[in-house]
């Protein structure tokens, strides 16, 4: 058997040019399959990691997925605001341990601004109940003296090069990242600059892309605004804003934590039946699953497509080996003449196919791992998806195995053909 493998290896080396191409195409297909699986896994991971320890998210009545998208992922806009009275009513429910109101809608150079309370830094958690950690500085104080204080997500600070003490201005409304359209387009709250007092440690969640300020600050910067525009002739200086009532009357949504998670349906029902205004409460886990079910179709299509790519490259393996049979007629016939049986010829060709597939699949897996390592930071920064260069998952092993198995099966086709070729056929010269 060893001798046969050696012969297979040497024969393959003789035709290395063609076979290298096949190895390359199998490697690309494997890399695509494994890379996609990694991406799929990690996107799902990023999704489920983005919120933890929050039992309900309360917002204006819309779809659960929509509420989840704008309250947690800052994707899309809120359909409506909810009143602080509603949030207080939920907070007063006997099963509720804490509520953290959040107000969205403003931005800073494409990064969403989140107005919230100091409780956000205490209660909001991600991943496996990991709390937010300040890498530098402190959280905003939430008092009137610290009205214009901002805490940056890790990515905001890194991308814009901000440090503690940096003065920033917020923009009314949302603007796509990188779209620094300039003074004409931007509705800046330039009269009330904020000071960066803290930078959060990286979380790999949408928090990294967010600028956090207090709810009162959100009220303050909109004091001299009415009907969606600055009131003409009215300007309230930053210092004077403190004299007005800055109690928020409306927020975008609220995160709710319960004393006992078993009560979650009761609180959800309480919120749904709240009579003063239409509210919606979603369980983050359920909404995430719904979201994933909606995204899952495209995801499966991607996987099917990379499966097809793998199929095509295996077909090319069969084609190359089959085409090679013609020129190898003599070689095989010589083997037969020195005593190799048809079984040996079959084994020879099967071994060659297996070797080619194995090296291709290994090369592909290595390439996928390399790509994850190389592109990881870029993907994290650009899309907020943390790619993990960890040991292969069960699914990845399964895909790897499937490629190997398919390759071996495919190489049986030329093997079978060679098996059927008679000795005389190879030795009879044709013109």
């Amino acid at each position: 058997m060893t001798a046969l493998l050696q012969i297979a290896a040497r024969s393959a080396w003789n035709r290395r040019g063609t076979l290298a191409l096949v190895v390359l195409s199998i490697a690309l297909a494997t890399a695509l399959l494994i890379g996609l699986e990694r991406l799929r896994n990690d996107i799902r991971g990023s999704f489920t990691q983005s919120v933890s320890g929050t039992d309900l998210i309360v917002g204006a009545r819309t779809g659960p997925v929509q509420l989840m998208l704008y309250a947690v992922f800052r994707v899309g806009g809120a359909t409506n605001n909810i009143s602080m009275d509603g949030v207080r009513a939920v907070a007063a429910h006997r099963a509720v341990a804490w509520t953290v109101p959040i107000a969205l809608g403003d931005s800073h150079r494409g990064h969403p601004v989140l107005g919230t309370t100091a409780g956000y830094f205490e209660h909001f958690a991600y991943g496996d109940r990991q709390p937010l950690v300040l890498a530098q500085g402190r959280a905003f104080s939430g008092t009137l003296d610290g009205l214009y204080e901002a805490v940056l997500g890790a990515e905001v600070a890194q991308r814009l090069g901000y440090r503690l003490g940096q003065r920033i201005t917020l923009t009314h409304g949302l603007r796509a990242a990188g779209g620094d359209a300039g003074g004409e387009l931007a509705a800046e709250h330039a009269d009330k600059p904020f000071t960066v007092v803290g930078v959060l440690a990286r979380t790999g969640t949408p928090v990294d892309r967010t600028v956090h300020v207090s709810l009162q600050a959100i009220e303050a910067i909109h004091l001299d605004w009415a009907g969606g525009a600055p009131l003409p002739g009215v300007s309230i200086a930053a210092e004077h804003a403190r004299k007005f009532s800055l109690e928020p009357r409306q927020v975008t949504a609220a995160l709710v934590g319960l004393k006992n998670r078993v009560a979650v349906f009761n609180v959800q029902r309480f919120v749904a039946e709240y009579e003063a205004e239409p509210l919606l409460a979603v369980l983050p886990g359920v909404a995430l699953d719904e979201l994933w079910a909606a995204v899952g179709l495209g995801e499966r299509a991607l996987l099917a497509m990379s499966g097809l790519v793998a199929l095509v490259s295996l077909a090319s393996l069969v084609a190359v080996v089959l085409a090679g049979l013609n020129e190898r007629r003599r070689e095989l016939a010589v083997l037969r003449a020195v005593g190799a049986g048809p079984r040996h010829v079959l084994a020879l060709l099967a071994a060659e196919g297996a070797l080619v597939t194995l090296s291709g699949a290994m090369l592909g897996a290595a390439a996928a791992a390399g790509a994850v390592l190389a592109a990881g930071p870029w993907v994290q920064q650009r899309f907020g998806i943390t790619l993990q260069a960890t040991a292969p998952t069960v699914e990845q092993w399964a895909l790897f195995g499937a490629v190997l198995l398919a390759g071996m099966l495919a190489s049986l086709v030329p093997g079978w053909r060679a098996y059927r070729l008679s000795l005389a056929d190879g030795l009879t010269p044709r013109t």
């Binding site: 489920t48 990691q49 320890g53 109940r129 998670r261 979650v264 959800q268 029902r269 886990g285 359920v286």
Partner: protein
């Protein structure tokens, strides 16, 4: 008003069936997710006992007791008492007690998953409920028809509203909280997909 009236009737109807089925292990009707053998079948030693959701209701619990002597037939449309009683009924369901006879036992029970805490290793916390859509429909199931499950190790590949068998020791949650006395909790050692029993 008709809606309130209907809900009241539904709640009371539920209460009726619960009391009728009250003796643990002797379900009056086939539950939506019944074990192939009926509840209360004596398990082999060392093996978890397969129970049904009815068994989780204590035999002597009567949600009806505060409503004795009230003739609901005489309620007119718009009667303010209807709403009040409805709220009281809801309260009774929210405070539904656990069955002390089952606490501490190793049990096996099927149900639907409502995910709570997902991590990289898999689902770490979920609620097990007896019927599909228990979190969306009204009214929510009573306190003793929800089990807080903490699988160990975390389970992978289980999504919202998947049906599973869980087995583990049935305990009660923290006592000082919302759900009246206490609520069920299982630190499940095993979570397996549920398969429809052969009929």
């Amino acid at each position: 008003m008709t809606r309130v009236f209907l809900s009241l009737a539904v709640l009371l109807g539920l209460a009726g069936t619960a009391t009728a089925q009250a003796p643990a292990g002797v379900p009056a009707m086939k539950p939506p997710l019944a074990a192939p053998g009926a509840a209360g079948v004596a398990a082999k030693p060392g093996e978890p006992r397969t129970i049904t959701w009815e068994a989780l209701v204590p035999a002597d619990w009567d949600p009806f007791k505060d409503f004795k002597g009230i003739d609901f037939q005489m309620l007119d449309d718009g009667d303010p008492r209807a709403n009040e009683w409805l709220k009281k009924m809801r309260q009774a369901w929210d405070d539904a007690p656990v069955n002390p006879a089952l606490v501490g036992q190793v049990v096996r029970i099927p149900g639907f998953v409502v995910p709570l805490e997902d991590s990289k290793e898999g689902l770490k916390e979920f609620l097990l409920v007896p019927y599909f859509g228990a979190c969306i429909h009204s009214p929510p199931p009573p306190a003793n028809q929800i089990i807080h499950v903490l699988p160990n190790p975390p389970v992978k590949g289980v999504r919202s509203m998947d049906t599973v068998w869980i087995s583990g020791k049935l305990t009660t949650g923290k006592t000082d909280t919302y759900m009246g006395a206490s609520s069920y909790r299982i630190e499940a050692t095993q979570v397996a997909p549920y398969k429809e029993p052969a009929r």
